[in-house]
């Protein structure tokens, strides 16, 4: 059963449509990310769920109860903000206690609960420190403990890691996911960072211009993007502009790609063939691949685990990420075959909505 349900939620500001009839439901214990560029409406959706904003149309239910017009203080949602949300004149302990104090929980019980929550986020030792004595990552942990203290039905996270360093970000995102899974709390996570969304979520909703462009498990969003926008927003992808030939073949530039005849397309359609760089092979390992092109290496960039090779082919430039460990990095100027498995490619129409 849906624990949280947004039904046809619209929010307009004058002529600007921030949310355009969004419908979204979260199962109990599920973590769903709203992912998209700034201005896509993801934060508006979260704020409407928290009660800080009111929808122009549509309803929101939490655990079956309509909360569309309920004040934020009565919704029982725990919220973690981007940064600087800790009360600066209170210690970590008092910050976590705040929600319990509002609810009239007696001092000894409140102290104990706050202490337990700080232990849970690994900050049992820092209870008496003030926010300015904590690092950014520690502050966000305290903010998480504070949000969990009121035992919310729903946890809302508004880009909780965006103000942190790359290393802390990775560490804390894994911890948030671990905590969320073990507590089984229904969570909505807003972010503009695609790697973050893929790594913490049960499902990812990619948003654009106030609408949900695609929603599904991370692997599906990454592997089977429904639209060119989703494909390019998530990770790096090759985009080969092509035409459907008379016999259903896919023609890119002056070459025909050995892809199975497309069922959903009619001859003359403009399509793009999408292939992830890590599924493209170069050199000797191309043998056995369905699609095969002759290419000239433009650049070869060492990225650590992988080396990114940029190649000029008759079908346009193609990027391949090959393992660095294999040895024999192709040198710029070299002529080399490049190929990919048709099963790893996706064909989307440019002329009309796909699938």
């Amino acid at each position: 059963m849906a624990d949280i349900q947004l039904t046809s939620v619209t929010r307009t500001y004058g002529a600007f449509v921030a949310l355009d009839e969004i419908s979204l439901s979260l199962a109990a214990g599920e973590l769903v990310s709203l992912l998209g560029p700034s201005g896509c409406g993801k934060t508006t959706a979260l704020r409407i769920l928290a009660g800080f904003d009111t929808p122009t149309a549509g309803t929101i239910t939490i655990a079956g109860k309509d909360v569309t017009r309920l004040a934020p203080s009565r919704r029982g949602v725990g919220m973690v903000f981007q940064a600087y949300s800790l009360f600066p004149t209170m210690t970590a302990q008092r910050n976590v206690e705040f929600g319990l104090r509002v609810r009239g929980v007696k001092t000894p019980r409140r102290r104990k609960q706050a202490q337990e929550l700080l232990e849970l986020v690994g900050l049992g030792h820092a209870a008496s420190r003030y926010p300015h004595q904590l690092s950014g990552g520690m502050q966000q942990r305290v903010a998480l403990a504070r949000a969990l203290a009121i035992q919310p039905r729903v946890l809302l996270l508004d880009e909780p890691l965006s103000a942190l360093d790359a290393k802390v970000r990775v560490q804390l995102r894994d911890e948030i996911r671990r905590l969320q899974t073990s507590l089984g709390i229904t969570t909505l996570y807003v972010t503009h960072d695609q790697e973050e969304a893929l790594s913490v979520s049960d499902r990812v909703a990619v948003m654009r211009d106030g609408r949900i462009e695609q929603i599904g498990p991370p692997a599906e969003i990454y592997g089977e993007p429904a639209t060119p926008f989703v494909a390019e927003f998530i990770g790096t992808i090759n985009r080969i502009e092509s035409l459907i030939g008379n016999d259903g073949t896919v023609v890119a530039g002056d070459t025909t790609l050995a892809l199975p005849a497309a069922r959903n397309h009619t001859p003359g359609d403009r399509v793009i063939v999408l292939v992830r760089p890590e599924t493209v092979s170069v050199g000797a390992s191309v043998n056995g691949h369905g699609v095969r092109l002759d290419a000239t290496v433009i650049t070869s960039t060492f990225l650590g685990a992988t080396t990114r090779v940029r190649l000029a082919t008759p079908a346009g430039d193609i990027t391949a990420d090959i393992p660095s460990a294999g040895g024999g990095t192709p040198l710029p100027g070299a002529t080399i075959p490049v190929g990919f498995d048709p099963a790893s490619a996706r064909i989307l129409s440019l002329d009309r909505p796909t699938d």
């Binding site: 800080f52 934020p72 940064a83 004149t89 609810r103």
Partner: protein, 255 residues
């Protein structure tokens, strides 16, 4: 990256010291002059003058009333503007800065000529309080505005709200404690302004402390110097008090 203080910085430091403390030292020396050598006679005379105490008391009372009035007016306004209407901030800033560019002399002449026929109001020193409130507006606004900008009011208020707090609890338990030093600074600035305001008081014929200072200045040479030293001492004591009072927990740790 760490560039250190060069010897030439020392020059600035010393120049600054000379620039400010030489006149002060000269004044101090002058205030201690007696017919033969130096003594504290001028200070004795000053403290035994009942006018010194009565004008100081009047000015302090006006200062207190002005501070309360201006804070009562601006604290809720500033909070509300930051929380709900950040777009109005430039407008409110403009309104609060207006009195700064209207010189006090113009203000008092205007007020006096308008209220010329309302003599009961002109005859009580509280007539000055609204004028002083206007004078203090820019300083108090800037202090509160800076204080509020340092604490991300909106996020704090929303965090408190999501935890179940109502608007009053949010204001008194979350926002105001963080503004303690800004409010103190605003209050002390107001007191400093009122204690130093001569133009309006003198033109409206009230015997406030600055008016007394100018009277002494025109009649007793060493007395004036002594008074200068005492006034500066009072003000700097207030500033020190402020510095210590604002040593509460500070905000914005490592990111």
């Amino acid at each position: 990256m760490t560039r250190r203080v060069s010897p030439s910085s020392l020059t600035v430091l010393i120049a600054g010291g000379v620039f400010f403390f030489l006149p002060l030292a000269a004044t101090l020396e002058f205030s201690l002059r007696a017919e033969h050598g130096h003594n504290f006679a001028a200070y004795g005379d000053l403290f035994s003058d009942p006018q010194f105490w009565s004008t100081l008391k009047l000015s302090l009372r006006l200062a207190g009333e002005t501070a309360i009035a201006v804070l009562a007016l601006l604290v809720p306004t500033a909070y509300w503007v930051h929380l709900r209407a950040p777009k109005l901030r430039p407008l409110v800033t403009f309104l609060c800065v207006l009195p700064f560019v209207v010189p006090p002399i113009v203000l008092v002449v205007g007020l006096l000529s308008v209220f010329r026929n309302v003599s009961w109001f002109l005859s009580t020193p509280q007539f000055l309080v609204p004028a002083y409130v206007i004078l203090a507006l820019p300083y108090v606004w800037f202090a509160l505005d800076a204080g509020l900008r340092a604490i991300d009011v909106r996020t704090l208020a929303e965090a408190a709200e999501s935890l179940g707090a109502g608007p009053f609890r949010t204001l008194f338990q979350v926002i105001l404690p963080g503004l303690r030093s800004a409010i103190l600074a605003a209050g002390l600035l107001t007191v400093a302004i009122v204690l130093g305001e001569f133009t309006m008081a003198s033109l409206s014929l009230f015997n406030t402390f600055p008016v007394y200072v100018s009277y002494v200045g025109q009649t007793k040479a060493t007395g004036a110097s002594a008074l200068t030293i005492v006034s500066i001492g009072l003000l700097w004591a207030a500033m020190l008090a402020l510095t210590f009072a604002s040593r509460g927990p500070r905000r914005k740790g490592a990111a």
